[in-house]
Amino acid sequence: MRGSNVLSLLILCAVSIPATKNVNGSQPILQKTIEALFSDRSNIIYPGSCKLFIASKRQAKICTREKKFFEILTNAKKQAISACEESFQYDRWNCSLIYNGKAKKRIFNKIYRETAFIHALLAASLTHAVAKACASGELKSCSCVGSYRKNTTWKVNGCGDDFKQGKRMMKNFLDFNHAGNDQIAETLKQDVMIGVDSIGEQMREVCKCHGFSGSCTTKTCWKRLGPFNSAMGLLKKHYHHAVKKKLLNYTTKRAITPQAKKKMKSDEKYLVYLQKTPNLCVWTKGRTCKNRHNCATLCCGRGYLTTKKNVTSRCKCRMVNCCFVECDTCVKEAEIFTCK
């Protein structure tokens, strides 16, 4: 057991050295990072400061400077994947990395609807996690962006909100500005921004009056960062309303023409993808569906089996202390629908 661990570590080291050099090669860091974060469902820890994936020089620098960044990255990744798996539980694509169980059909091979969604999802999750880390004081390099005048200190002008800091750090980490300007890069950049905006959109404004005698002569407002779940709802809507664009040329890294860029502007508020998702119906056999309506969609009209099963669930919950829920286990008979 120990031997195999050492061996795998050695192999990893050997692989990572040339791989680090490779990062700056063909694919932009944006694409590579998101793919690495989403693909990594195991708990492999890479050597190096970012530890989750093979980082670029810039990323490695961020991870070394900010000791907690690795944790934030892990949290963002976990948060995104678990939210994805939960909300796509009863969808044809269940947040898997590959289509129809075929290892060759990776969702990152081309820019599918799912690929576009994952870019938005991870960007959103990363923004959210960084904003939270800024607010909890874990990250020290959060800046005061958003305070409107340059060259002044926090004491004079105050500080902007954490969402803007999260957005800035996410862009910086994904090397957003150097992602390129070919069609794929422009598409992915738009998808990333959709993700970030869905975090911004679900923020709610709260105000406090503190003027003369506590009246509203002076009022200060701030935006409250909501839970990631509510942004997930928005993202899923975006997934369903995504727009397909005609692929111009996959291989060249040429910048897109101004006309094409102008055309993209019209769909600014939508997720954009370039390739049609393969038919996923072949792989839904044996999947559990929720109800009659959902089963019709998920099972692609093949019908479903209804089985009765005893399900244990938590019940009669009560608050034991401030922060614990203690529940009994109840056994209930439930119907389970499985696709034929």
């Binding site: 003369f212 005698s213 009246s215 009022k219 701030w222 839970p227 922060c323």
Partner: protein
């Protein structure tokens, strides 16, 4: 016979003065808009959950914080072990947060610190929050200064407080969070120390305590402090206004004392209004840079209250003194206005009592809030409603009086064509200037009211992304503040007694003037102590 300066001032001089004052007003507005940042800054911080394994929880020398030497580990509320009890949790907030790789500290220029607590509660189908739930919070505040060792936190204040939970939820499903309204937690009137630390515990001393508050997911604190840049601009404005108002007051009072007569009521009112403004203008904020003065918030309220009540009383007396209701032989005094002024007094008194109950109590306990208990809420509402009613009554009185003045003036105006030309021109000028000043007052009042209501109405319309919007708030503050200073400055200048013999002012070469002067002699004998406008009006009534 002496009149006031406004009656004797030529149109050109008046125009120059008004232009100058308008320029000052514009400067005030622009200073706020271009130099000052937004008045206050809000910073959100998420709690670090620390584990307190000590058996004695009352120890106020033990502090939990998440940065620096001796920091605690964030245990998080998601994956907890059941062997921990509720009293083992401490929610720690260390202020201010680090930014740009620097450990920040509070500056005394930032004046005050207001804390608002936001509790995130996770929905649990079998444990919904009951309506009107009360949460009990054991809050402890500590401070530390620059140069102190990182673990040396000193107790600032401690209190066990109750707050009402006001939560609702849209989608009732697991993992979703309640939408709970933010609850005001503390108000510090002075920001004297460099670092602050807040430790929150949720005690369960009785079985009912903190048992119906659902599943706490997270806690965050929003701290609001005045921006240092805004304080600097504000204090500089005060430092300019204070000496100028003092100087003009001295000049005003000297001019009155040069007269043979005793000062009339209007002049006394003007003087006290000037004094109230001086009190408001006094740049006491400088003292907070050297001393710990937690009462500054309360003092600021009291200073503003005194100023506004003086201003309101002045308007009443100003309108009343031009109404000709009183007997000409008696010196008018404040006693005549007791009915009108009692409205002002009631309003001020109830606001003062409310402020003492809220901010006064906060001097002893920064976590105190009158709105928590039902009795407190009712009491506070009573005083606020009482203040509102008295303001309403006051404005009814004021409008009625002003209406009467205008009726009087227009009535007297009808008799103007019967007078000869120079005299008529003169009176028309006086009436015009009186109306001009009335208009200025109305304009200032309207602007202030707009400013007052704008803060209330603008809820939800605040554009966060556009920074110009934020600058505008500061500009509005400095603009309104400058406006009242300039208004009172103008009143003091224009209503100071003139030293010129007024018939000579218009045109000395005009021989007609001398003959006109004779016509006034009986009038001057009868009432030599009052300004010529009121005497003119009085003469008309006698006629």
């Amino acid at each position: 016979m002496t009149g006031t300066i406004i009656e004797n001032l030529s149109g050109r001089k008046l125009a120059v003065l008004v232009t100058f004052l308008l320029l000052c007003q514009l400067t005030c507005f622009l200073i706020g808009g271009l130099v000052a940042p937004m008045p206050a800054n809000a910073q959100m911080m998420i709690a670090t959950v620390c584990k307190d394994t000590t058996t004695v929880k009352n120890d106020t020398t033990k502090w939990f914080y998440n940065r620096g030497k001796g920091a605690c580990q964030n245990i998080g509320l998601e994956n907890l072990h059941h062997d921990l009890s509720e009293t083992d949790f401490v929610f720690a907030f260390q202020m201010p947060l680090p930014r740009e790789n620097m450990i920040l500290d509070y500056s005394r220029w930032q004046q005050n610190l207001i804390g608002v607590l936001q509790i995130d509660i996770k929905y649990h189908s079998l444990m919904e929050i009951q309506p009107r739930s009360v949460i009990t919070i054991d809050a402890r505040m500590a401070y530390r200064n620059k140069g102190d060792p990182e673990e040396q936190w000193r107790l600032y204040t401690r209190s066990v407080e109750k707050r009402n939970l006001d939560c609702d939820i849209e989608i009732k499903s697991e993992h979703h969070l309640y939408n709970c309204s933010a609850m005001p937690l503390f108000e510090l009137g002075s920001l004297f120390h460099d670092y602050y630390l807040l430790n929150i515990r949720l005690p369960v001393e009785t079985p009912d305590m903190n048992s119906h508050i659902g599943h706490i997911h997270d806690m965050s604190l929003i701290v609001i402090n005045q921006n240092g840049g805004f304080t600097k601009v504000w204090v500089s404005l005060k430092s300019v206004f204070f000496p100028s108002i003092v100087a003009i007051l001295v000049w005003f009072w000297r001019r009155i004392h040069m007269l043979q007569r005793k000062p009339v009521l209007l002049e006394k009112m003007l003087l006290s209004l000037g004094l109230a403004l001086c009190l408001l203008n006094m740049p006491l904020e400088y003292l907070t840079l050297y001393f710990d003065l937690p009462f500054m918030l309360l003092l600021g309220d009291i200073r503003q209250g005194i100023f506004y009540s003086m201003l309101f009383s002045f308007w009443l007396v100003f309108a009343g003194e031009h109404m000709l209701i009183q007997d000409t032989s008696t010196q008018s005094s404040l006693k005549q206005y007791w009915r009108h002024l009692s409205a002002v007094a009631t309003g001020c008194a109830s606001l003062f009592i409310f402020d003492m109950c809220e901010r006064g109590m906060q001097l002893r306990n920064p976590f105190y809030s009158i709105w928590v208990t039902d009795i407190g809420t009712n009491l506070a509402l009573t005083f606020i409603i009482l203040a509102g009613i008295s303001t309403g009554i006051y404005f009814l009185f004021l409008c009625y009086m002003i209406w009467q003045v205008f009726i009087n003036i227009s009535h007297k105006r009808q008799s103007l064509p019967t007078m000869c030309s120079v005299r008529r021109l003169h009176y028309e000028g006086i009436i015009y200037r009186f109306k001009f000043l009335m208009l200025a007052t109305l304009l200032c009042a309207a602007l202030t009211i707009i400013g007052f209501t704008l803060g209330q109405v603008a809820e939800g319309q605040w554009k966060w992304d556009e920074n110009i919007e934020l600058e505008y708030t500061s500009a509005f503050f400095t603009g309104v503040y400058g406006m009242w200073n300039i208004y009172i400055f103008a009143l003091l200048v224009l209503y100071a007694p003139s030293h010129k013999q007024w018939p000579a002012v218009e045109d000395t070469s005009d021989t007609q003037n001398l003959s006109e002067e004779i016509e006034f002699t009986p009038l001057q004998e009868r009432s030599s102590e009052i300004s010529s406008l009121t005497s003119f009006l009085k003469k008309a009534t006698i006629d």
